[in-house]
């Protein structure tokens, strides 16, 4: 997030797109409701009428895969009606004329046709966002899990820059991260092209710095993303795979293919706190300690590094992740020892400019938001206050293009997937909790009343969904939450698993698969065989 969670409460307007915030980020969702009570305006954009839509001043139920067109339409109206921040554009941005030229053709009527929306609602949303003094944009996987995900993020940035909403309090561009420490994992180099602090592996000077610190030769090659790793395993270019805290058989697209790949790899190590579906295929399972069984830090979605303290002993042979990694490292001949995560943080600070001022002593008094360039620095509540990091914010105009797989006569419906409140990710944890399983015991398919009637489907019927990749079964929930010709499934469940159906086509830049749009066929069945 460019901004902080607490700032949401003082926003004048909130633009929530592709985020089921109250179910997936309940704390942030609650703050949005507080902001609404404080007088903020709320725009909600989602193919499903999510709970937050009930609080919205305008709710846009767009067709999956049309985010870019909608954003262009909003910017068209804002510029047409003179709501853009001209002085901000002049002083703090570049390439505005290109943006203006591109969005000119995205009239509300044209965008309405592409997105399946009423042009008046598009105008209303544009006026709310464009008129607000402090407007924050909040998004999650509904934006990124598309073949056009990176361009959609750029377009969100375009919208924020257009109205001067980057570099001020209670505004900004705010991706809400999907796990408690995904931000921290990325910060520490859990990306194919990065070392800690997003220092790029292909830069010789970066490699030299880390080689000097670690006294070992390092590769300067950009690594592979998960989708690329799977391709390489199939081609026998990768023979060993080490998976930590992930369950790709359930969470990744085209589950049949994922299983085939994991069965094909020569040697599979899985490190997790429970024996997941993926761990069942492993040659070696390394039992890891859970969050309450270890010391360390998590870095949350607002870039806040926070202490986590051990409350109970880990069961059996389970150990903290850092200790398992250190022992493997030692067995492989690198003798360095760390006596406590605080020692690791000291090394992180010495090598990572944005973490340079962070240490355990300071974290005793509360979390710190990076960048923290030195020990006197208080942390950074919101980014780009003085200027955009590049110098000026660069408008990157982008055109709408269709999703990789569109409905046709064989597969006439769009499947979109997501999360629900009572289950978490692939249920390795929540699936063991009786209360949660009582509330949300099984997978389901949300289907519009009109579509259901057309197909002779009633509430609770078992239905079969088939895509070009596979098929799955789940019970129907007939509802007007979802639009006609679109169905929704949660991806959590291994029985009635949505990811048998999803598409492996990826965004060209981020390599994130298009989990939000897959063409499917729907049939009512008597029972699952």
């Amino acid at each position: 997030m460019t901004n902080s969670i607490q700032e949401i409460k003082a926003a004048d307007a909130m633009f929530v797109i592709g985020s089921n915030t109250t179910e997936n980020h309940p704390v942030i969702g609650a703050m949005m409701k507080q902001a609404k009570r404080n007088g903020a305006k709320l725009i909600v954009v989602d193919p499903r009428r999510i709970e937050l839509a009930d609080y919205a001043d305008v709710y846009l139920k767009l067709k999956p895969g049309t985010n870019i067109a909608l954003l262009n339409g909003l910017m068209h109206v804002i510029i047409r009606d003179g709501l853009q921040d001209n002085s901000y554009i002049k002083e703090r941005t570049e390439n505005y004329e290109e943006l203006k030229r591109l969005v000119e053709s995205y009239t509300p009527e044209r965008v309405g046709d592409i997105c399946g929306l009423d042009p008046k609602d598009i105008e209303k949303a544009a006026h709310i966002y464009g008129s607000a003094k402090k407007a924050g944009i909040y998004y999650t996987m509904g934006i990124t899990q598309h073949t056009t995900g990176t361009h959609a993020v750029m377009n969100i940035s375009n919208l924020a820059l257009l109205c001067g909403n980057v570099g001020i309090e209670s505004a900004g561009v705010n991706p809400l991260r999907g796990q408690n420490n995904v931000q921290g994992a990325c910060d520490m180099g859990g990306l194919p092209g990065d070392l800690p602090g997003y220092q790029k592996v292909h830069k010789p000077e970066v490699i030299e710095k880390f080689q000097n610190a670690w006294d070992r030769e390092l590769s300067g090659k950009v690594g592979l993303t998960i989708t690329e790793m799977f391709e390489s395993i199939e081609k026998d270019k990768i023979k060993f795979l080490y998976i930590m805290g992930e369950n790709p058989i359930v969470s990744d697209p085209d589950s049949n293919h994922v299983r085939h790949v994991l069965e094909h790899v020569d040697f599979l190590v899985v490190q997790d706190i429970f024996l997941s579906e993926t761990a069942e295929l492993a040659d070696v399972v390394l039992p890891a300690a859970a969050f309450a069984e270890k010391d360390g830090t998590f870095t949350n979605t607002e870039r806040r590094v926070q202490r986590v303290r051990k409350a109970v002993e880990a069961p059996g042979e389970a150990k903290p992740d850092w200790q398992i990694l250190m022992e493997i490292m030692n067995h492989m001949g690198y003798e360095k020892q760390y006596s406590h995560p605080a020692r690791i943080m000291a090394e992180v600070a010495s090598l990572t400019p944005s973490y340079a001022g962070i240490n355990y002593k300071r974290l005793e008094h509360g979390g710190l938001q990076w960048p923290v360039p030195n020990e006197e620095h208080p942390g950074t509540r919101f980014l780009h206050k003085t200027a955009i990091a590049r110098g000026r914010g660069l408008f990157m105009p982008v055109e709408h293009v269709d999703s990789a797989e569109m409905p046709d006569s064989d597969y006439p419906y769009i499947l979109t997937t997501g999360r629900i409140l009572y289950q978490y990710h692939t249920m390795t944890m929540t699936g063991r909790e009786e209360g949660l399983m009582t509330l949300a015991p099984s997978s389901f398919v949300e289907i519009n009343e009109t579509t259901a009637n057309k197909l002779g489907i009633s509430e609770g019927d078992m239905i079969r969904l088939t895509s070009r990749r596979g098929e799955t079964h789940a019970r129907a929930r007939v509802t007007d939450r979802i639009g006609e010709d679109v169905v929704f499934m949660p991806f959590h469940y291994s029985e009635g698993q949505a990811n048998y159906l999803t598409n492996t086509a990826t965004d060209e830049i981020a390599k994130i698969p298009e989990l939000k749009v897959a063409a499917v066929r729907i049939e009512r069945v008597q029972e699952v065989l």
Binding site: Q183, L191, Q199, V206, E208, T225, R390, G391
Partner: protein, 164 residues
């Protein structure tokens, strides 16, 4: 004013640039930031050496006058760009500092180009006017080089697997 004066002026500008970038190189801990500032400092010194060779080639005509219109140097071109682009603050927040720096660098070259263009416009002597015009073209070439390096790196970053 003569050719020597103009060249010495231009040399001083390059020297200022080199010192500016060198000072910045020692100020940041990110290795990419350090390296790029050092590289830019070296480039400015190469420019300085080039001008020095030109000066020597034409020989010393004697009598170096530090007064006159051309010597009202815009000494603060670097400082002004540093401040207008908020380089201290932005580099602390940038994951790709080389783009931030290269952008500032090509803007500085553009500032020089425009400065020499203006100097050529106001110069009364045709010979001096011609030298300023040549220097302006020279700086325009530097701007193009930095911009093209900026574009190359931008493209490189755009093909990296971002996200998470």
């Amino acid at each position: 004013m003569d050719y020597e004066q103009v060249l010495k002026y231009a040399m001083q500008m390059e020297l200022d640039g080199s010192n500016f970038f060198k000072e910045k190189a020692g100020h940041f801990s990110n290795p990419t930031t350090q390296k790029l500032f050092q590289d830019l400092s070296d480039v400015e010194m190469e420019h300085y050496a080039y001008l020095e060779r030109q000066l020597k080639a034409y020989g010393d005509n004697g009598g170096f006058d530090t007064s006159g219109e051309v010597m009202d140097r815009e000494e603060d071109i670097f400082k002004a760009r540093e401040e207008s682009e908020h380089i201290e603050e932005t580099l602390k927040e940038s994951d790709i500092p080389d783009l931030t720096i290269l952008r500032m660098a090509y803007l500085i070259e553009r500032d020089y180009k425009e400065f020499y263009e203006r100097a050529a416009e106001y110069a009364k002597d045709e010979g001096i006017k011609s030298i300023f015009t040549k220097l302006s073209k020279w700086e325009e070439g530097h701007e193009r080089i930095f911009k093209s390096e900026y574009d190359r790196r931008m493209k490189e970053y755009m093909t990296l697997p971002w996200g998470g």
